[in-house]
């Protein structure tokens, strides 16, 4: 098929397809002439993945590019998962002060306490420490105390997620498995946040009531 049909099939405008081609996020079609090319089902699938990463996963084009490079590259599942994880956390480079070094130490402690095998450069360390530092600077240090609960919950989920990826992709070839790993990692993050929003709405309705009164004692 040519670009017009690819556009119809995928719901992506022709100029956008050309843009993704230029950016290297979508492989070029098979050339059938000096100015003609042929696209296949793979291209439709890839386009859908691109849109999912951008729209649902909320990645920037630059981050999506990195992720897709991992899908296409000759990397292991492990490395591809790492690439997807890296794309999810941005590191805005704030100033180093006391709050941030204390926070960093607290994160290091947590990782040690849980026995997590996480490299020194894992962006999650920085990102988690940034949040703890912000809590402190804003005068809510107690919010950081829940970090073990968060970590426990994430450990459970992460194990199941990785198992699910392993169970799914093993028989369709490396590329498809990597695609699944990336999809699950990126979109899973959005799913998690969406469910958290609903769970919080429920919890606040339950504990506070729509009128804003504290019901936390009365309800139990």
């Amino acid at each position: 098929m040519r670009v017009g049909e690819l556009s119809r099939r995928s719901g992506v405008s022709v100029p956008s397809i050309k843009y993704y081609l230029r950016e290297g996020m979508l492989p070029a079609g098979e050339r059938t002439g000096p100015n003609q090319a042929d696209y296949g089902e793979d291209h439709v699938r890839r386009l859908r993945l691109v849109r999912a990463l951008l729209d649902v996963g909320g990645l920037s084009v630059a981050a999506a590019k990195e992720v897709l490079a991992a899908v296409d590259g000759e990397v292991s599942l492990y490395e591809a998962l790492g690439a997807a994880q890296d794309a999810l956390v941005s590191v805005p480079e704030g100033a180093e002060d006391e709050a941030s070094s204390t926070a960093r130490a607290r994160v290091d402690d947590l990782v040690a306490r849980r026995g997590w095998s996480v490299t020194e450069e894992n962006p999650g360390r920085r990102a988690a420490a940034d949040v703890l530092a912000a809590y402190t600077r804003l005068g809510w240090p107690q919010f950081g105390e829940a970090i073990d609960d968060y970590a426990e919950a994430m450990e459970q989920l992460a194990r199941r997620e990785v198992e699910s990826v392993l169970a799914s992709g093993s028989d369709d070839g490396r590329e498809r498995a990597v695609e699944g790993a990336v999809t699950g990692t990126v979109l899973g993050g959005s799913l998690l946040l969406a469910l958290r929003v609903m769970a919080q709405a429920d919890a606040s309705a339950r504990l506070l009531g729509e009128d804003g009164t504290d019901k936390s004692a009365a309800d139990r």
Copy 2:
């Protein structure tokens, strides 16, 4: 203090401070003359909150504005929590097809199953359904099956988060309590994702090994 010192104290450039003032995210200082104004500790605190929402929470200026409007407005804790939750999930308005209506039904089922008190318009519903629909369209419907695990984990955490906010803010006045609710909701989301990244890195190292071989059977 005047704007120069405010800038030094908060680490935000003077032009940026002026920008936030224009946008109404930072209240004007107290006027001491036709072209002089005085800022206080509240302004320093507010600036830190603004930067935390933008840098750590990853909100856009527009979203941060909404959240801050809730902090400043005469709204209940419950409503402020809702505003913060809404700011966290973007709804990119994709086309409605079969995958998305099925997904929507699955989310509605989940909410009913868990007995969550969540309005019909809660953006989390749309966002969660979008993820499920994307899984289906990309050929990974099985990833959606973990949604109950996610929901269970989020329910636990959300309850603790809301309790923590209630325990913290009750004696410092409404505004401070609302500030805490908003801070915890927005930054807590970033913390969750950061920990998930590390937990996944650990899980993939454990189940896959750095070399990319599947160790899932051998390890247990």
